[in-house]
Symmetry: C2
Subunit: 428 residues, 2 copies
């Protein structure tokens, strides 16, 4: 029965039952953290099996004669650029390997836009000037945080099942030169799990922007992070931008953070030849280069891209039951009540959960009170403000299955209680 | 006999002999690269011996319970911050460990000054505004390059035997609010090998600056890179700044790049509690953290700071003969001619060589023509312009001893030839 069709007597009865459940959870002294999309210990152990016997010391010279122990190779070693190229969809000469954080590379590119400008013809985006940045929402809080830190105006754009609402995007970029860029996660988008459609990617590449230095920050964080089977995007955004005559429009980022170890993976940046050349020119002033021994480790751990896919299938086998259990519990507890919807991702790290309008904060609050912490409600929107207060990001990967079950059961109880409270308040 | 006291006949005769020598070198088809302060293969092998059997996989959890494989620990792992603290002279709570490049941390801090400002009370240094930066010269070209990239005015300051000429520095900072900072290498300064005196460090800490957001970028690149014996600075610049009531004035950088592997060391930043706190606040937006597995490797490779010193003594044993042979050849070939002076460093990676005014470029050019490449003349000055065209940086560490001997003999011949040419031209 839909909650909205219940009368106050029914709602009050339900509220009492839910409060009892909440009390029972409170008595369990739970301490569960569901806030972060972190790989779990089993996944880390899987990677340890792959890395622990890789020898990078007996011979530290790569196949091109580079001693990976010494200075040099600003772009990162060539063998690994070739191996990881499919993650970003660019040839190895348009790839730069970074340190252990692709977020840091995004920040770095963004800082260069602000201080140096997109290219020699463009003014720096500047400090203290109004720059607008498009934020498909719900989206990734740490993307939004970088552009917020820089004082940009964050403009929310609705997410649809096929990517950002392109009608909105096209309208926003068409008439305002201060709209300088957009955040995108084209595959298993955080948190919805959406895969951008061919049409979305083509429109991103071809759309007319007033700002000539408009840039797409395309964070391909989960290119091989399937739950069921590997599938490449049918359209390569860098190629499409080139076709469209906008070759320099897009920076594609990726990393091995959720392939090998989150704390010590390899970050990747790919773009047009021109962008990479100009980036590298600045890089040569900025750093003595990335950690090449870690690159050699990754290169020797995986003989081919297929080895990576085999490793990711093993990771998927750990994660699949977790995503399944979340969906099962949500369906069992919430189906037919008309108070919640959630996504059914085929990869990535998150499930996006929408409850009744105005209930997300309250839901997260009740859960926190009984010892289960979810990502702050609103975090998936610019400035942490979900205009409808309905989105919660579920991160099923880190906790063991039993803890995850408890956490999601708590979530269901809390979301029902928040819904009942809301309806009683409205009916009043 | 002083070259300057020779008559033209003597000079012409000498020129003929030198040209013959140069031709002989040319016939040897040399291909020697003396441009970079890179550790040599033997040094790398020494580090391989230390690292190759360190196990970071059987147990990747550090003594504080941090699984170094996963996300987290923005500051870097605590054990390593404690171990490396003596490199920067600060307690572990005022230290941030970075990636593999301390230069990158300097660039990063500098970019934050430009975009965000030194603190909440200070305006950003800004893009397109005139910022002046003091550059003790001869100094490190890659320091100068960062501030040049940002469009700052680079103001040369003379280097003395006890550090930057503090009379000049104090005069420059006293009356001009656009003078925002200074580059310093307090120990075995690049390229002179100078160790800053107590007095220099005290004056840097205590001097009155018009700019309240004046910052010392103190690159302690060679704190344990002695040739003879380890010696700490008698004055700690961070402590002295605190005493002077200027606690936030100094950022100290260091790294293990020339302790372990240049390409995969650990960069270090230390400063006041306030600076570190504010830096870390931004860091939390910018990155998911540094490579902690590499940190764990370093932590387990050296049980104590004394272990590091023992390792550095072994490195010194490799480098000492190289510095000695350079000095021997220079003395044998050039002493008494009055055309060259050079430093006698007790540590670090360079010897600073001064030839006759107006002869450095020509010397490097002749050497290059016979296949021996030295660091570009002028590189040790802002904008690559040595006003007296006399300084050449000698980097003795990379080549094997026999190659080094040849390279320095070539240098001596070239510097004599350039001197003779100059004198003949002047006498004309």
């Amino acid at each position: 029965m839909l909650l909205s069709e219940m009368n106050n007597t029914q709602l009050c009865k339900m509220k009492d039952e839910l409060l009892q459940q909440v009390n029972a959870y409170g008595n369990m002294k739970l301490n569960l953290n569901m806030t972060r999309g972190k790989p779990c210990k089993k996944q880390l152990d899987l990677t340890t099996e792959v890395l622990k016997d890789v020898d990078i010391y007996t011979n530290s010279v790569d196949e091109y004669g580079v001693d990976c122990r010494n200075y040099g190779e600003l772009y990162g070693i060539k063998g690994l650029r070739i191996l990881l190229a499919p993650l970003v969809g660019a040839s190895e000469d348009r790839i730069i390997l970074g340190g252990s954080s692709s977020l840091n590379m995004m920040y770095d590119v963004m800082m260069k836009m602000v201080v140096f400008g997109a290219d020699e013809h463009s003014a720096p985006w500047g400090t203290g000037k109004k720059v607008k940045f498009l934020c498909p929402s719900p989206g990734y809080d740490r993307h939004f945080a970088i552009t917020e830190l820089l004082g940009f105006d964050l403009i929310p754009v609705d997410m649809t099942d096929s990517g950002p609402d392109m009608d909105q995007v096209e309208a926003l970029v068409a008439n305002d030169p201060s709209v300088k860029g957009i955040w995108c996660i084209p595959v298993y988008s955080n948190p919805t799990g959406v895969i951008y459609s061919e049409d979305t990617i083509k429109r991103l590449a071809w759309m007319k922007t007033t700002a000539e230095d408009f840039r797409i920050f395309c964070d391909n964080a989960y290119p091989v992070h399937f739950l069921d089977q590997y599938d490449t995007l049918s359209v390569n955004i860098l190629d499409e931008c080139e076709k469209a005559g906008n070759p320099d429009r897009t920076f594609v980022f990726s990393s091995t953070s959720k392939i090998t170890y989150p704390g010590s993976g390899i970050a990747i940046l790919a773009s047009s030849k021109r962008n990479i050349l100009s980036y590298n020119k600045m890089l040569s002033k900025q750093t003595i280069g990335p950690n090449k021994m870690n690159q050699l480790l990754h290169l020797r751990a995986f003989k081919s891209f297929n080895d990576i896919l085999v490793h990711m299938e093993r990771q998927a086998a750990i994660l699949r039951p977790k995503f399944d259990i979340v969906d099962q519990i949500l369906r069992r507890e919430l189906e037919g009540l008309g108070i919640a919807e959630w996504t059914h991702p085929t990869g990535g790290y998150f499930i996006s959960f929408d409850c009744m309008e105005g209930c997300a904060k309250r839901t997260v609050e009740i859960a926190k009170n009984v010892g289960v912490e979810f990502t702050a409600a609103g975090a998936t929107y610019p400035y942490g403000k979900d205009p409808l207060d309905r989105n919660i990001r579920i991160a099923p990967t880190l906790p063991p299955v039993e803890e995850l079950k408890t956490a999601i059961q708590v979530l269901c109880t809390c979301v029902k209680l928040a819904g009942v409270e809301k309806l009683l308040e409205t009916n009043h």
